[in-house]
């Protein structure tokens, strides 16, 4: 049975595999290129920032420009392709496995051979999930390396998180199971694909926006005024003085006495108070002292990275398992 499922998905897998090979080669080439540029920039005399020594300023400025510009375009391409590869693979495999079969009525052939419908569905799931894991694991390894090498963003921030680590395999598996389950319901390949794309996009964006920041307890730190102005320091990716490679969730003024994690409402209130004060006075630091406010940054530290990956991966895989379970319950009742 597995041979049959494999044979049915063979051309899709070959196409995606070829695309992955091309993508990986491109990632390696551009990643190495950017890595070497950064190494130059981080080394003497620039040491990762504009040198204060006059004669080096132009040289470092030029390097910095190269590093940020040459990276930008490649980074966007890589991020987009990297982020959609596994979900797309999952969706197309899933739609092909079930919706297309039902649309072409070959399920009437398959379900009148020996073996139950459950066995049929089981083979579909097993083959699809195995394919996704086998293809995406090496790709994830290369992407994770690339995230580090390209210095585009910290691996924990939303821009890079989906393409680093192994959470993408979770996306792929979820998309596959989703497409299978939806295919059983909608029974048409085109519509199933459309519905699944919209649904997955919704789930993914909502989760990244609303749930991921709350998966772990963030840290709060007070930021000295002048640190905020410092911008990029030797630990770049930090803004406003938070530790390097962390994911800054929020930043602003809060009363000095605040304990724990301040709410957005509290920050907003303090911001408004500062605003009123600053209209009257010039110096910002007077207002914060006068109003007994301090600047805080709320962030999730780099050390939480694998926890986030695990939790988010578990969510998607768990949801996939739930959908799969429901589909097994429904498979007997479905009209052939």
């Amino acid at each position: 049975m597995m041979w049959v499922v494999w044979r049915q998905q063979r051309s899709i897998v070959v196409a995606f595999f070829a695309a992955a090979v091309v993508f990986v080669i491109w990632l390696i080439v551009t990643g190495q290129h950017e890595q070497s540029l950064w190494n130059q920039y981080l080394a003497a005399p620039c040491k990762g920032r504009l040198s204060s020594i006059t004669r080096d300023v132009n040289y470092c400025a030029a390097l910095e420009a190269k590093v940020s510009v040459s990276g930008a375009h490649n980074d966007d391409v890589a991020t987009v392709i990297g982020a959609i590869y596994a979900p797309l693979l999952g969706l197309i495999l899933g739609v092909n496995a079930v919706a297309r079969e039902i649309e072409q009525k070959t399920n009437r052939l398959a379900w009148t051979q020996s073996g139950s419908r459950s066995k049929w569905l089981r083979s579909k799931y097993l083959t699809g999930v195995t394919t996704i894991v086998v293809i995406c694991t090496p790709l994830c390894l290369v992407l994770s390396w690339w995230v580090r090498a390209s210095h585009d963003a910290a691996r924990i921030v939303p821009k890079a998180f989906p393409i680093s680590g192994f959470v993408e395999i979770g996306y792929g598996v979820f998309c596959f199971v989703l497409a299978v389950a939806v295919g059983l319901l909608i029974r048409r390949a085109g519509w199933s694909l459309a519905v699944c794309i919209i649904f997955f996009a919704g789930v993914f964006l909502s989760f990244a926006d609303q749930v991921r920041p709350h998966l772990v307890t963030p840290s709060v730190m007070t930021v000295q005024g002048d640190q905020m102005e410092a911008g990029s320091s030797s630990g770049f990716y930090s803004s406003g003085g938070t530790p390097s490679n962390s994911w800054q969730l929020n930043q602003g003024f809060v009363p000095v006495t605040t304990k724990g994690i301040p709410s957005q409402a509290l920050i907003g209130k303090s911001e408004r108070a500062m605003g009123v004060c600053e209209e009257a006075r010039v110096q910002g630091s007077y207002c914060s002292h006068h109003l007994h406010l301090r600047t805080v940054a709320i962030y999730i530290a780099n050390g939480q990275y694998w926890t986030l990956q695990l939790l988010e991966g578990a969510f998607y895989v768990g949801l996939a398992a739930l959908l799969a379970g429901i589909s097994f319950l429904g498979i007997r009742r479905i009209r052939a």
Partner: protein, 304 residues
């Protein structure tokens, strides 16, 4: 009523799709060893019956037994013994013929690869061709081969001869008959045109308006029906001992197709034997509900 040697038995079987009944009040017993034709216009319920027998659909009401078992009770064993060919003759268009056979082998423990390859070789269908590149008739043959090579006890074929040119149809039916000769399989095939299959069927089931109006051995049907015609001026009463299925009047006469229960008085009426098609057509035209009394489970036929 339970006949241990029947290949298909239904009692009050019905299937409902949303608000419409695809099949109702279906009570049939098809004995073993027959090549049975399921005849009726499109929408009469033929595919519905075959799909339920193949286990693709669940009955809404009533009882259904195929080879003594219920098709939907989940035992995979029954699917090994029954071959089903859907009206759409689904195949994987991107597969090669040889891969399609491999599909059959992987999915059926009783698969006989030699038989499958022999059939296709006789029809000159190369194993290397892609299914999508074969003609309609060749695809139908491959689809049929998938059923035949698992050497089932019962073949359920939904319009196997439809949309085939006469040569292709003849070839397909001939291969089917060879299988019946070799393996003693029973066959239930549906058709909306009896003429296509009248040469090979020895049992006939007529469906009209989702109901069974006739089901019996063709020999019995032929022996028990006559056409009576007479010349007269007014309306003549049919003789006693007959059941009028269909009547047609002309200017000076009347022609009745009847089922005979008692010997007919031949002085007033001219008696002729109708063909099977004429009989079936009469039942289809008349096709009223309450046709249960026209069923007969007399497998022996007249006079034996």
């Amino acid at each position: 009523m339970i006949d241990g040697t029947a290949v298909l038995e239904t009692v009050n079987l019905g299937k409902r799709y949303r608000r419409k009944w695809g099949l109702q009040d279906c009570t049939l017993t098809i004995p073993k060893g027959r090549v049975a034709a399921l005849v009726g216009p499109n929408g009469a319920g033929k595919s519905t019956l075959l799909r339920m027998a193949a286990g693709l659909d669940q009955p809404s009401v009533g009882n259904l037994r195929v080879l003594g078992e219920s098709p939907t009770s989940g035992s995979g064993d029954l699917k090994e013994r029954v071959g089903y060919l859907d009206q759409e003759r689904p195949l994987y268009k991107s597969f090669r013929v040889a891969e399609m056979l491999r599909f059959g082998a992987k999915n059926n423990p009783n698969w006989n690869m030699a038989v499958a390859q022999e059939h296709l070789a006789q029809l000159d269908i190369p194993l290397r061709s892609r299914i999508g590149n074969l003609s309609g008739g060749q695809q139908a043959q491959v689809a049929l081969t998938l059923c035949l090579a698992k050497e089932p006890e019962l073949l359920l074929l939904d319009e196997p001869a439809a949309a085939l040119d006469p040569v292709a149809r003849d070839e397909l039916l001939r291969i089917l008959m060879r299988q019946v000769a070799d393996c003693d399989s029973s066959v239930l095939l549906s058709t909306h045109s009896l003429g296509d299959v009248v040469a090979i069927c020895d049992y006939v089931v007529v469906l009209a308006h989702s109901r069974v109006v006739l089901s019996n051995d063709t020999e019995y049907v032929l022996e028990s029906h006559r056409i009576l015609s007479a010349v007269h001026d007014g309306d003549l009463l049919p003789p006693p001992g007959v059941s009028v299925i269909n009547s047609q009047s002309s200017t000076r006469g009347q022609s009745l197709l009847v089922r005979v229960e008692l010997p007919i008085d031949e002085t007033q009426w001219r008696v002729e034997r109708p063909t099977l098609e004429e009989i079936v057509l009469a039942y289809l035209r008349e096709g009223s509900p309450g046709a249960k009394d026209r069923h007969s489970h007399d497998d022996e036929g007249l006079g034996e």
